[in-house]
Symmetry: C2
């Protein structure tokens, strides 16, 4: 289809500053590529909302946004007033769970004009995807405390993996690898230390691989895998990982390419039973919030991924070209990339380039 209703949730901190630029670029792309986009803005899913209402979202949040074609999300969290495990679990993580967005998809890519902290790497050298399981695993809320307040105090938290949950993320990752030129998959494990869930993960990878004879694959323990991201990032094509390991790898990957401030992510329900959610990898960044200097590219790149998901690959590619063009100009890059632009200047430039 050509008509899409987008739910916009800016959240907290710099989320509220980069979101307008994201929407600006999407509107430009909609015009150029003839897409009919409607934006509905929601106040909930922010710490401000929590302070007013005592909960992160209204009881009927699902009715309000469940029928949108996608959710365009900024960043959530303001640890000084609301503990992270309340703000996140009451919004972002609840979307991921209730809308069964079981794939988190995050690219790590060396971009022109973006200095990498790694020595001797240039654009083209590093280009891989982290596919993260997004609904179970280490992020369970199952567990509790015993003997509270005493010397014998213990806390327990369970990691839960289901066959359904593991197989569907592996399938998505193998499918993605199969579509890419190198057709290579890397699985993150830790079966030598995490002795129950991780051997199970390995077992399911072995099983799934049988259905993809044209995809080569290997596995690394998470400790040495993080080391390999730094030492040999060019080895990777598609990296599939559990919820926690994927969380780590999808920050570390963009850190290695210098793109942590501009990396995008998709929280995807591949069956399209529920809306998928697109958000920058960066958080609400209380330290720079309110200054208008945040880099809007993570938000804008996430918007491009959203259009791709909605079937508009041409619009996605157009936005990506505009981003790469603007990145080459010092006047149009933000300060984190050694440029002189503020959030709005950079966003406008990308919209114009589209």
């Amino acid at each position: 289809g050509n008509k899409h209703k987008i739910a916009v949730i800016a959240g907290d901190g710099i989320g509220t500053e980069v979101m307008p630029e994201g929407v600006r670029v999407l509107e430009a792309a909609a015009e150029v590529y003839g897409i009919d986009l409607t934006f509905d803005t929601f106040e909930f899913g922010s710490c401000d909302y929590y302070l007013k209402h005592g909960q992160m979202m209204p009881d009927n949040w699902k009715d309000q946004i469940g029928n949108h074609d996608a959710i365009y999300f900024g960043a959530v969290g303001w640890p000084d007033t609301v503990p992270d495990h309340i703000s996140l679990w009451g919004s972002l993580i609840q979307f991921r769970r209730d809308f069964d967005q079981y794939v988190s998809l995050r690219p790590a890519k060396l971009m022109p004009g973006v200095p990498s902290p790694l020595a001797g790497r240039k654009p083209g050298d590093i280009d891989f995807y982290v596919v993260r399981e997004n609904t179970e695993g280490e992020y369970s809320s199952v567990g509790g405390k015993m003997y509270p307040g005493t010397d014998r105090e213990i806390v327990i938290q369970e990691t839960v993996m289901s066959r359904v949950g593991v197989d569907r993320i592996l399938k998505y990752a193998f499918d993605l690898a199969q579509k890419r030129p190198r057709k290579h998959l890397t699985s993150a494990t830790k079966s030598n230390g995490i002795s129950i869930t991780m051997p199970y993960w390995d077992e399911r990878v072995l099983e799934m691989a049988k259905s993809y004879p044209d995809v080569t694959w290997d596995k690394y323990h998470i400790d040495i895998l993080t080391a390999q991201f730094v030492m040999n990032p060019d080895r990777f094509d598609v990296v599939v990982a559990s919820n926690l390991f994927g969380d780590i790898l999808s920050d570390l990957g963009p850190a290695c390419t210098g793109t942590i401030g501009l990396a995008p992510s998709g929280n995807i329900n591949p069956e399209r039973k529920f809306p998928s959610l697109f958000e920058p990898v960066h958080g609400s960044a209380p330290d720079i919030a309110g200054k208008g200097i945040a880099n809007p590219i993570g938000q804008i790149w996430s918007g491009a991924m959203m259009l791709d998901h909605l079937g508009h690959t041409d619009a996605h590619d157009g936005i990506m070209r505009a981003i790469e063009q603007v990145l080459l100009s010092k006047e149009l890059r933000t300060g984190d990339l050694g440029g002189t632009a503020n959030t709005a200047t950079c966003g406008k430039a990308i919209a114009d380039a589209v």
Copy 2:
């Protein structure tokens, strides 16, 4: 004391190749610094032993090595014949648990002659310790499987943190930070995702910090912390982390300094109720085993840490100077560092330099 009985367990793969060099250097240091070292070698704790006896260690292993002053360990694991979770849990991890070696201590340090994968860093720029909880946390063997072999199959594994376990590792880390010039501690958390155990960890850090008013401290979520290791490794002084997070950070730290092939580690029981164990961070490396080309410096540096632990700081410093001297010569470095030496040449050179 001046007399120490060392239990030597070489293990598998390159463990058996680097161990003789480690012992050679220790013997040289013993002579120079007037230390009386006795070495007792044990065959168990290796996959060879497992294949012969059906278990990694004899039933009376504790009697055999429990009265030694320290254990000098190589590397264990041979995944083609023995699954890692058997070989590791039946040796290394059992030592850590049964000898209550609750501190894993691992330095990340830029060394002369060792190229770092990070751009623009030089010796002196990076110099920190990772202090890892080594006996509980994510490495529990508690859990299991339900509905095996069906579509409803689930596996569960528990993370267990005790107040005793968390407090004692934090105390060790704060004590260490207090002794260092910068007196700074960083705590690794993930309380925004791992919603039960990690907020508890944070709570205990806050509490412990009150007893160390002269130590400054901060905390990072593990995802962004791995990114910071790559982007700003000079920020860190002492980094304290749970078992899993510490495992990751103590591979990633040395990867950033280019020293992953030569990083040492101590598994320490600070109360000296049980022997502590010293081993290189690298594993048994089946891919290069049997060729005599492995870098022995991880084993040798671990030996230096062992002497330090036994009270011989002068001998530790002497070995470290010898390592730094040998690293500067291409003929004496191994191939992983662009040198031309084999394992034995490098080991002998360090022994001579001592």
